[in-house]
């Protein structure tokens, strides 16, 4: 006999939320049956047919069941497993648990910190949910998909569900223990969700080109909005994904030339299909953040965080020490620019901490500058090499199972997926397989000079191909260009990291670690090329763009504020001959103050006086010298 589809689906329903229901009409029952069938098929061996139970001659006898029970043991008949997706390839050993049944990118687009509401069963939609379910008839619990490390009982994840490729400890997201110093540090924030909410447009503001959705469970409108995403990724705009900020991977369910689209969902069969917004969280967040905000590193330094050396200072004290006592900030590239700021004004400024507009957050930037900003439009390989090697030889703090951080001094350049890795960094040459060494899933990487050099060369290649970049978000984001797939697939830095000539991620480009070629042919994908490439995008061992940016993104600029200006003049006699020639050089710096003091530095273009709109901010001459002819 065969199990009824709804019986199989019940197993799924107990563990995750099947977000499709309806009244008990025959039509709805038939439709639900079809939905269950479509949903469950990928979980069966071969993805084609339900498990056939054995006939009588091949069944396990009741006597055996009884004897096993007397021994306190269980004889298994069927195994249903529901797992968060892992990198595991379909050819992995270890039984049906070794492979993967449902195509996803489990650490990026399909990251599932919270259980999804599954309302669509087509393969393109299953990519969004990130769950992997498998069903198989088994004979004993020894054949179960549930593999655990003997003694500890820990299961396997990361590279796979079995000991062959998996590891017992994986860090996919961190709860920050340190205040962020880079926008890319926000990559661990969950921006989107996939809730049961039905999006109902309730208002539009054409002037600002914005729209709002009020959402609530169908047939039970509560007025509760589901726009806000919980820390675990519930609610909010679809799709649920991880590692959005700072990364730039295109989503296969969003057209190449769009940053958002809509997707049909069926939650209530009686109400039918409705469209919900479906957005490229990376693109939109990067667009909103990188050109408007930065982290000053003026933040509390609580004593209970050992990394601060028991500093135990409030943000105000950190700022006081920085501005008036000669101490540096955690981000030492940030320099103060006091201008006319005195202590009394400064103290007054800190009373405006909770004013989100025209308050401290807006105004403090007028007193901060970046020392040694790096222009993203640089086409100097050497300059990029030096910049990307900023952390070369620097000690790395990490946790190794205990509560107190340890320190590891690297020879190479570290790239970390978080602020406090769970092991000492791993070299590329040490990564011999998806789980060897296992530490690769909970720490960062130590890059060699050669790898940094390869990356610098590849970045310059991308700068020349795509530049000049007009803003930081332009550099960070992919291009919304339907006619240029490489530009639309990922941003410049990620394209450099994934360059064939760059060895950093080379081990992830073997066939068993890439999405199958057929994946891109899944019907329904709107950008099929985005469904090609490594599965492990967004994971700890894969070096993503955000991993690189988190260390020094506050140094990057699309345009410098310091300029070297050279001029020359001729003195011509009455006959028109050059009597004398002079050369001079000035180093000038654009400073926060506007030329017309009527405006404060934090005010935006539209708020400026006519004079300031024309002439902008002041330029200060930092140095001046005459040049001789040999210097020209």
């Amino acid at each position: 006999m065969s199990g009824h589809w709804s019986t199989w689906a019940d197993a799924l329903r107990h563990d995750i939320l099947l977000g499709r229901h309806g009244s008990g009409s025959n039509e709805n029952r038939a439709a639900l049956g079809g939905f269950y069938q479509e949903l469950m098929l990928p979980g069966f061996p071969g993805g084609e047919a339900p498990v056939e139970f054995d006939n009588e001659t091949n069944a396990i006898s009741g006597q055996q069941l009884k004897l096993a029970g007397e021994e306190g043991e269980i004889i298994a008949l069927m195994d249903f497993s529901l797992s968060i997706g892992s990198e595991t390839s379909n050819s992995a050993s270890g039984g049906f648990g070794g492979g993967r049944r449902i195509t996803s990118r489990p650490f990026l687009h399909s990251a599932t910190p919270a259980l999804p509401f599954i309302t669509n069963a087509d393969k393109a939609s299953l990519y969004d949910y990130g769950m992997d379910w498998q069903i198989s008839k088994i004979n004993t619990v020894e054949d179960s998909i549930l593999r655990a490390k003997p003694n500890s009982g820990n299961g396997y994840y990361g590279g796979g569900y079995t000991v062959e490729n998996g590891t017992t400890h994986v860090i996919q997201n961190e709860i920050p223990v340190l205040p962020p110093i880079s926008i890319a540090s926000l990559s661990h924030a969950y921006l989107g969700g996939f809730s049961m909410a039905k999006a109902i447009p309730v208002g539009e503001d054409p002037d600002n080109d914005t729209f709002w959705f009020k959402s609530g469970p169908v047939n039970n409108p509560t007025g509760v909005t589901y726009q806000r995403v919980t820390a675990s990724g519930q609610n909010g705009l679809a799709p649920k994904m991880g590692q959005a900020i700072g990364n730039s991977y295109a989503h296969p369910n969003i057209p190449a030339d769009e940053a958002f689209t809509t997707k049909a969902r069926i939650y209530d069969l009686d109400e039918g299909s409705f469209e919900v917004p479906f957005v490229d969280h990376s693109y939109l967040a990067n667009k909103a953040l990188w050109d408007e905000f930065f982290f000053s590193s003026i933040a509390p330094q609580p004593a209970k965080v050992p990394l601060f050396g028991s500093s135990d200072r409030t943000a105000k004290q950190v700022a006081d020490d920085f501005f008036f006592n000669g101490k540096s900030l955690p981000n030492r590239r940030i320099q103060h620019y006091k201008g006319s700021l005195n202590k009394a004004d400064f103290d007054d400024l800190f009373t405006q901490q909770s004013d989100y507009t025209d308050g401290l957050a807006d105004k403090i930037a007028a007193h901060l500058m970046v020392n040694g900003a790096f222009n993203i439009n640089s086409t100097s390989v050497e300059a990029w090499k030096v910049f990307l090697s900023s952390l070369k030889g620097k000690p790395v703090a990490y946790l190794d199972g205990g509560a107190s951080p340890k320190e590891f001094v690297t020879e190479g350049t570290t790239v970390n997926p978080g602020s406090l890795p769970g092991a000492a960094p791993v070299k590329t040459s040490e990564m011999s397989s998806p789980n060897s060494p296992p530490e690769q899933w909970r720490t960062g990487r130590e890059l060699t000079d050669e790898e940094v050099g390869q990356l610098a060369l590849a970045v310059v290649k991308q700068v020349k191909l795509r530049g000049p970049f007009l803003s930081l978000s332009d550099f960070v984001n992919r291009r919304l260009d339907g006619n240029n797939s490489p530009f639309a697939l990922k941003g410049a830095l990620q394209a450099a990291l994934d360059d064939e000539e760059v060895a950093i991620n080379a081990s992830f480009r073997t066939p068993s670690r890439m999405l199958d070629a057929e994946t891109a042919t899944i019907p329904g994908f709107k950008f099929p090329d985005a469904a090609k490439g490594p599965i492990a995008y967004g994971s700890a061992p894969y070096v993503d763009q955000a991993d690189v940016l988190r260390h020094f993104s506050e140094q990057l600029t699309p345009r410098g504020d310091t300029f070297v200006i050279r001029a020359y003049g001729d003195s011509i006699d009455e006959k028109g001959k050059v009597a004398a020639r002079a050369w001079c050089e000035a180093v000038v710096q654009r400073v926060p103050e506007y030329s017309d003091p009527a405006n404060e530095p934090h005010q935006k273009q539209a708020e400026l006086t006519e004079s300031n709109q024309k002439f902008g901010r002041k330029i200060q001459i930092m140095s001046f010298r005459w040049l001789n002819s040999k210097e020209v």
């Binding site: 061996p45 071969g46 056939e52 139970f53 054995d54 006939n55 001659t57 091949n58 069944a59 396990i60 006898s61 006597q63 055996q64 004897l67 096993a68 021994e71 306190g72 043991e73 004889i75 379909n90 050819s91 992995a92 050993s93 270890g94 039984g95 049906f96 070794g98 492979g99 004979n139 004993t140 619990v141 020894e142 054949d143 179960s144 549930l146 593999r147 655990a148 490390k149 003997p150 003694n151 009982g153 079995t162 000991v163 062959e164």
Partner: protein, 227 residues
């Protein structure tokens, strides 16, 4: 495929019958690879006599009490082109002397007519009793087994019987830490790790094979509880 006209077999079978006259053997069968529906086959149990025996794949068959034979022949009675009864032998093995024997029937193909390899084992509790593990490597690669305190390696198409001691005892419960590896070049790649329950009242048969559909290396385990 061997075909013995029954008449021609008479002397042979008679001699077999004489060999074990009055001596009853307890026979059980199990077959591999696993099938949803394993069809019974005929076993020659004397001159011109056959019985149907079941060849389950996920448990041991019922016990068949038969006269001792020199060889165990499994197959199917057919009629040849001339209309004479014949016995089509799918697999055979020399019988053991043990009064309790377990015949492992390994299919060579997807159809019964592709033939079987038979492996005869003593089924006496002193030989294959509780707490013992029979491993068969039906895969295409070398396999290394670590189970409890025992380590064995198996070339393809070989088998072994292991009697491990528990890795851990917690009250009445005993556990075996089990690791399986396959050879990849000069390396042993782990592909299975788990903790198995250990019981002196259960014996296990573990088949290691490559799934014909997915080509994945996997296990098929039969746990037989002894009364």
């Amino acid at each position: 495929m061997l075909k013995y006209p029954l008449a021609c077999l008479s002397f042979f079978l008679f001699s077999l019958a004489c060999f074990g006259q009055g001596d009853q053997i307890s026979l059980q069968f199990v077959s591999f690879p696993k099938l949803g529906k394993a069809t019974p086959l005929e076993l020659i149990v004397g001159e011109g006599k056959t019985i149907n025996v079941e060849l389950p794949t996920n448990c041991l068959s019922p016990i068949y009490k038969v006269d001792r034979q020199k060889q165990w022949l499994l197959g199917k009675s057919t009629t040849d082109d001339e209309g004479k009864l014949a016995f089509e032998t799918y697999g055979k093995i020399n019988a053991l002397t043990s009064s309790e024997q377990l015949i492992l029937v390994v299919r060579k193909g997807s159809n019964d007519s592709d033939g079987f390899e038979l492996i005869a084992m003593s089924n006496q509790k002193s030989q294959f009793g509780g707490g013992k593990y029979f491993f068969m490597n039906a895969a295409k690669v070398d396999i290394a087994v670590e189970i409890g305190d025992k380590k064995v390696s198996l070339k393809p198409r070989t088998h072994t019987l292991v009697e491990p001691n528990p890795s851990k005892v917690k009250g009445k419960r005993k556990y075996l830490y089990t690791h399986l590896h396959f050879r990849k070049g000069t390396k042993a790649v782990p592909f299975y790790s788990s903790t198995w329950r250990f019981s002196k009242k259960a014996r296990c048969m573990v088949f290691l094979y490559h799934d014909s559909h997915t080509q994945q290396l996997r296990t098929h385990t039969i746990r037989d509880y002894i009364q």
